[in-house]
């Protein structure tokens, strides 16, 4: 199954080299996304729990993230067609090849059942994402690409030190998560603590949390906006999966509380930074990127506090993926219409696209975790767990930061939709189907907040029991 997926990916990427025009490029790329969706459905129906090619397991966490990725990446492809309308076929073809390779690397990261394999694939995502960021070939993209490769690679080299430290506990060099969960207690706990910090620091560049969150923000700013949607959701989830799997192997160790506290500190720092810059920025793409930093900070806190927080963290990741990608797709349309993403130059969007304007306002409200957002449910669960633990300082920090975020984001989004504008716009005709499709993602996050079927709850609960010794 996975062999077919990898071979299909490589074949499509290879055949794309022969695509003579945009139509061929689109047709070939569409085959990949259709196949990816088929694989997602097939895995859910027939292969959950299976291990393939030794290093990949279709566990619930991987399947969940892969399902989300198959939707988001297909939508990224769809939106890119209209968004990259001035590109030559060669540029468009290369972009699509990289998007497919990035999707494939992210998928493999989700399913990797081995610490070292996850590291290899995370590094591979850096390579593909970096070239996507360089798509425009201008000074800004060059700077962002350099910073992205350099910081990610340095971070990932540090993460490798962490892997080496954890591997000192491994039996016969067996680095599968299941084996490590059993063996970790025999290791030097000081090594294990340092290892977690190194891995957290390294993968923070992917999950876009403190301390290496900056490169993700810059990459999102410079990359073509539909690709930013994939980076901000699919790639961020890859970072989350990598950190979550390592976190879970510590579950039965005496240092688990210490590890949890490290995540809480990283989460609080991320929320603080995200909210601070979210208000300062004058660019919608940056605003959404800082919102990712803030939301992933909430996820880290959810993991750190445990209890209901663990379930909430997974729910938060799902809802965030849907809303954030939906918002990026909407903003892509706005950017094409106004020829800019600067907040002070975009107003009165409702005049040009009524449903798009409504989608952006709805998306912003849901992103800020107002009911009935899925994020509302997850944040409420996190707050509930904090109250149970009586960590009042954490409660005050989170509530205060979320209030500041609400003010900052709503202020900007209302300007975008309502404030009257005399500025000229481009001749770009807004893609209503695209607007509705991305609105669908936002609505899905809304449904998640209102209704979570029993099978869904059980599915997530099984994720929380992974690697139990």
């Amino acid at each position: 199954m996975l062999t077919i997926y990898f071979l299909a990916t490589l074949s499509i990427v290879a055949v794309l080299c022969l695509a003579k025009d945009r139509k061929h490029t689109i047709a070939l790329s569409a085959i990949f996304y259709a196949l990816q969706m088929y694989f997602a459905v097939d895995i859910i129906l027939n292969h959950i729990g299976e291990t393939q090619l030794s290093f990949f397991t279709f566990d619930n966490l991987g399947v969940l993230c892969f399902s989300l990725l198959s939707v988001v990446s297909a939508m990224t492809f769809y939106h890119s067609i209209r968004y990259l309308d001035t590109e030559t076929n060669a540029q468009f073809r290369l972009y699509n090849q990289l998007l497919i390779l990035l999707s494939c690397a992210i998928t493999a990261t989700y399913f990797a059942n081995n610490l070292a394999v996850t590291w290899i694939l995370i590094e591979a995502t850096t390579i593909f994402a970096a070239v996507i960021v360089y798509h425009r070939r201008d000074k800004k993209s060059l700077e962002a690409t350099w910073k992205y490769i350099f910081v990610c690679s340095t971070g990932i080299a540090i993460a490798y030190l962490g892997i080496l430290l954890i591997s000192s506990a491994a039996v016969d060099g067996e680095l599968s998560y299941v084996a490590l969960a059993s063996a970790i207690n025999s290791g030097n706990m000081l090594y294990m603590k340092i290892a977690f910090i190194f891995i957290l620091v390294g993968y923070s560049s992917k999950m876009e949390i403190f301390p290496l969150y900056t490169v993700g923000v810059d990459a999102n700013l410079v990359a073509p906006t539909p690709a930013s949607a994939l980076i901000s959701s699919g790639l961020v989830n890859a970072g989350f999966v990598a950190i979550f799997r390592v976190f879970m192997i510590y579950k039965d160790t005496p240092i688990f509380q210490w590890i949890s506290n490290v995540l809480i500190v990283a989460g609080v720092a991320s929320i603080f930074i995200g909210v601070l810059y979210l208000r300062q920025t004058n660019n919608y793409k940056r605003m959404l990127s800082y919102s990712t930093v803030e939301n992933m900070g909430i996820v880290a806190i959810g993991l750190g506090i445990g209890g209901y927080g663990l379930y909430a963290a997974i729910l938060h990741v799902i809802a965030h993926t849907l809303i954030k990608s939906g918002m990026f797709f909407q903003i892509a349309q706005v950017g094409k219409k106004y020829g800019t993403y600067r907040i002070n130059r975009i107003n009165d969007y409702l005049k040009y696209c009524h449903i798009g304007g409504i989608a952006i306002i709805a998306g912003a409200i849901l992103l800020l975790a107002f009911p009935p957002s899925g994020l509302f449910v997850s944040e409420l669960m996190i707050v509930r767990q904090i109250v149970i633990l009586e960590k009042w300082w954490l409660l005050v920090v989170i509530v205060l930061m979320l209030c500041i975020a609400m003010y900052g984001v709503l202020n900007q989004v209302i300007k975008l939709s309502y404030t009257e504008s005399k500025r000229k716009t481009t001749n770009y005709k807004i893609d209503i189907i695209g607007v509705w499709l991305s609105f669908g993602l936002i609505i899905a996050a809304c449904i998640l907040g209102l209704w979570q079927p029993v099978w869904f709850v059980e599915f997530i609960n099984e994720i929380l029991n992974m690697y139990s010794v």
């Binding site: 394999v117 591979a124 060059l142 490769i149 340095t154 080496l164 491994a170 000081l190 410079v222 004058n282």
Partner: protein
């Protein structure tokens, strides 16, 4: 013999902190590659022949030949020469490097356990600190690339300190990943040098991405 090589490696780390010319940086990185090659040759003779061959090939081809050649090519292409635009004393860098060395020894003494090779552990830590110092203290992005390579060499030594033997397939994938990233960094560094039409590309030039 291994101990002598390790001392030599420490000397290269000290000298990289006071180097003023990029050519010397590239030469030191090449020298580190060769030292690592001989360390592998002397230290890992007991492992399986195929794995030994792989590690030797990795250090010889990648660390001792390809990477230094790439650095010299970048120097030629971007015409970068000195790490500073104007002459500056290297004494503070030397002091910082020695403090990092002492910090590495102290840290190793307190945290390294008996299962690890203390000498390799300490030197790997020193290499990590030296790489990070190069990235933090130097402004030119070429120095940052060298800092990254010093960290990578430190990671290599660290894996020898811990003594983990990963499966062959994973080793190859890790090597390919690192090789690709280093090549990409080199490629983009050259592009930055060409794009900004300056021989003095430093981190302060790369400030267009703002809020």
């Amino acid at each position: 013999m291994v101990f002598a090589l390790i001392i030599l490696y420490v000397i290269t780390l000290i000298s990289i902190s006071i180097t003023e010319r990029f050519r010397d940086y590239a030469s030191i990185i090449a020298m580190q590659g060769w030292i690592l090659l001989f360390i592998v040759l002397f230290k890992l003779h007991s492992i399986h022949i195929s794995e030994l061959f792989f590690v030797l090939a990795e250090t010889l081809i990648f660390k001792a030949i390809i990477v230094p050649a790439m650095l010299f090519k970048i120097i030629r292409k971007t015409k970068t020469n000195h790490i500073y635009a104007i002459g500056q004393s290297q004494f503070p860098s030397l002091i910082t490097s020695i403090i990092a060395l002492i910090a590495s020894i102290v840290t190793t003494y307190y945290i390294a356990d008996t299962t690890s090779n203390m000498v390799f552990f300490g030197v790997a830590l020193y290499a990590l600190f030296s790489g990070l110092l190069l990235i933090i203290r130097r402004k030119r992005i070429f120095s940052h690339l060298v800092g990254f390579l010093v960290i990578e060499n430190g990671v290599f030594l660290f894996s020898m300190a811990i003594g983990i033997e990963m499966p062959f397939l994973i080793n190859i994938a890790i090597l390919l990943d690192i090789l690709l990233v280093v090549l990409m960094l080199g490629m983009f560094l050259s592009k930055i040098g060409t794009s900004l039409k300056s021989i003095d590309v430093d981190a302060e030039t790369l400030t267009t991405l703002k809020n």
